[in-house]
Subunit: 101 residues, 2 copies
């Protein structure tokens, strides 16, 4: 479905207005970023990114309303999950040999 | 730290009493299963698996009390997180093109 990497890519496209700039910000090739966008556009009922390809200068890309809803639901899930699981997560962390991991 | 794969490996070692059998149950080589066990034993303050190597028949392995606590904390985190995030997760799933993923 989506995970932290794809959602961060969506957020970067939203903020930078470009698939290549978003990928670059994550140390990702344009090809890889594009392929993740295609996967997401195929996975969701409505496209999450509208790319403007091939214009002069390469064109930009916009995250759609559906894409913004995906970001919101994912980040909402994450926040709720981390808050509810905070006690168990702290217990798990407390068992680690050090906190560097 | 730990994720679903390592925790499932711990659970399989707990249930099967053997690193190789646990790895086999997950389609994993003995070498890979052993390496994950070593990573976990190094990551946690107390060992999570006590292997009995080299005995006749290869020996077995036991999950320690610390390992059982790791399993409990991880599964507790997961259950709390999924329960708290159920609404957002349903929203996300509802946006998928189909439910096959």
């Amino acid at each position: 479905m989506v995970g932290p990497g794809k959602v961060l890519l969506l957020e970067n496209i939203r903020d930078l207005g470009s698939i290549s700039a978003a990928g670059r910000a994550m140390g990702m090739s344009y090809k890889r970023a594009w392929s993740l966008v295609e996967e997401m556009n195929a996975a969701f009922r409505l496209p999450v990114v509208l790319p403007a390809r091939g214009g002069a200068g390469g064109g930009g890309a916009a995250v759609t309303g559906a894409g913004l809803a995906v970001i919101a639901a994912y980040r909402g899930f994450e926040a709720a999950a981390l808050e509810a699981g905070a006690g168990e997560l702290a217990a798990l962390r407390g068992m680690l040999a050090d906190m560097s991991d």
